[in-house]
């Protein structure tokens, strides 16, 4: 589904990704773990198409398309979802308005009919319920005044509504308390665990992986994958630290 080959990327002349290769098949959950500064967030941003990063070498193919050729909004319409480590606040724009515009923009790009206001609200209510989020929260402005945990849950509600094929989740577990972690983990499973979908989970810690069981775990260090294994690799990392395992 997603195939990354020998990806090199830099920002402001600083090399961050150094020949990263990775392949994620349909129906799979891959976890990427690694120390601070390894390039985890850069990988997420490069896949999402954030301006400022320069790809100097390599390729990324998503569902048969050259991902790097697409504009960020075209990537979203193609079915890619980027869960932000720090979701952005947008004063003056309500979640409902934002997500309805976003969903209908994606549908339009795919040649589908737009959802009416009523249909959209029904869908939003269902997905908010999945993450145990009050609909009143969705009437408020995007992420404004939300706590760290609420922002992360709101990200998952967005994911539920937009229903992507592939989700790149950048430290979705950071800022969550134990209960919220469980809700978010179950939400990811409910929304993304399907034979035709896949997830790339970026995280520092093992704890989210207790709820969202990965099929494959990769260790990212100095801009490339240095080790790949099964779920047991995450436990080994937790026990022995990155330095010992990634060396």
């Amino acid at each position: 589904m997603l195939k990354i080959e020998n990806l090199h990327a830099e920002i402001d002349g600083k090399k961050i990704l150094n020949g990263l290769s990775l392949e994620v098949g349909a129906g799979k959950v891959h976890a990427i773990m690694g120390p601070n500064g390894a390039g985890k967030s850069t990988l997420a941003y490069v896949l999402g198409g954030r301006p400022g990063y320069e790809i100097t070498e390599g390729s990324a193919t998503f569902a048969g398309q050259d991902l790097l050729e697409l504009e960020p909004h075209e990537r979203a319409a193609a079915g890619l979802f980027l869960g932000f480590q720090y979701p952005v606040e947008i004063p003056g724009v309500s979640n409902v308005q934002f997500l309805r515009e976003a969903l209908n923009s994606q549908r339009k790009a795919r040649g589908e009919e737009p959802l009416s206001g009523g249909e959209f609200l029904k869908l939003a209510k269902e997905k908010a319920g999945l993450l145990r989020m009050d609909m009143e929260m969705l009437k408020r402005n995007v992420n404004v005044g939300f706590s760290g945990g609420e922002k992360k849950r709101a990200e998952m509600v967005q994911m539920g509504i937009l229903d992507p094929k592939f989700a790149v989740l950048d430290e979705t577990d950071s800022g969550l308390d134990i209960d919220a972690l469980k809700i978010v983990g179950e939400g990811i499973n409910a929304i993304m665990r399907a034979p035709d979908k896949a997830v790339l989970l970026i995280t520092h810690y093992q704890r989210l992986l207790d709820y969202v069981k990965p099929d494959v775990v990769h260790v990212l260090a100095k801009g490339r994958i240095v080790k790949t294994g099964g779920p047991e690799l995450a436990l080994e990392l937790e026990r022995e630290g990155y330095e010992a395992v990634a060396a």
Partner: protein, 250 residues
């Protein structure tokens, strides 16, 4: 012929005006003031949308009686040069609410010049102005507030924010406060910025095209100016009127 005093650039309130266009106005137009008077306790709201092809000059004098409430909301759009001047005289306990948006690209110049005269105690005024410009356009706001010595318990607030979509555009903001009373609240703020790049990427990552994302952000930005319009339908109309020309912005 009665003498009409023509504006000059030496006067602060005309300093940033487009004199190339002003010279084409008939001299009489500078003497034409529209007078609006609200009786004690009266409430009146007026929404103005400037959006024609010709330059426009509007000079309005408002007198608010004791406890009266006047509200004026203006979309300042349209021809090469558009200017709305408002002089408000406030009696005891009156309230004046002003919301204005200047918007435009190309070579246009748009101006708001307000002068609020807090002549008696306990009057309140609230002004919110937003300016959105691109191309080589200019948006100006000169907001003068006078509080006389007896006008204790005056509460006058003025809030200006400018959004520049391109490098060649300009906004000028000048609050002028003359306060002679000591027990008053006079708040003013002015800020100028660009569209939030992080918000734009976040919106793109959810599937919004750059055009749609920009329009949503600009709508949110100018909405403050019309937040005090109680009728939601009227509020929407003003926002739509303001955003009508946005399509031409790059």
């Amino acid at each position: 012929m009665s003498a009409v005093t023509l504006p000059t650039r030496k006067e602060e309130e005309w300093r940033y005006a487009d004199f190339g266009v002003l010279e084409a106005f008939a001299p009489e137009s500078f003497a034409q003031w529209k007078h609006v008077e609200l009786a004690a306790g009266e409430t009146r709201r007026k929404c103005m949308v400037l959006g024609g092809a010709e330059p426009e000059l509007h000079r309005i004098r408002i007198t608010l009686g004791e406890g009266a409430r006047g509200e004026l909301f203006v979309v300042n759009n349209g021809g090469d040069y558009t200017r709305v001047e408002v002089v408000v005289h406030m009696a005891k306990g009156a309230h004046f609410e002003f919301g204005g948006v200047t918007i435009g690209g190309g070579d246009v110049t748009r101006e708001f010049v307000t002068r609020i005269d807090h002549a008696e105690p306990g009057a309140t005024s609230h002004q919110v102005v937003r300016a959105v410009h691109w191309g080589r356009a200019t948006g100006n706001f000169l907001g003068r507030i006078d509080v006389v010595r007896d006008a204790q318990k005056t509460d006058a607030a003025q809030d200006f924010r400018g959004l520049l979509l391109e490098k060649g555009a300009t906004v000028n903001a000048k609050p002028e406060l003359e306060i002679y009373a000591d027990d008053v609240k006079c708040a003013h703020g002015a800020a100028i910025g660009q569209l939030d790049e992080q918000a734009r990427f976040y919106m793109a990552a959810r599937g919004l095209s750059p055009d749609v994302a920009r329009k949503l952000l600009i709508r949110a930005f100018i909405a403050d100016a019309f937040a005090a319009v109680e009728d939601e339908g009227e509020q929407e109309q003003l926002l739509d009127a303001a955003l009508g020309t946005l399509a031409e912005a790059v």
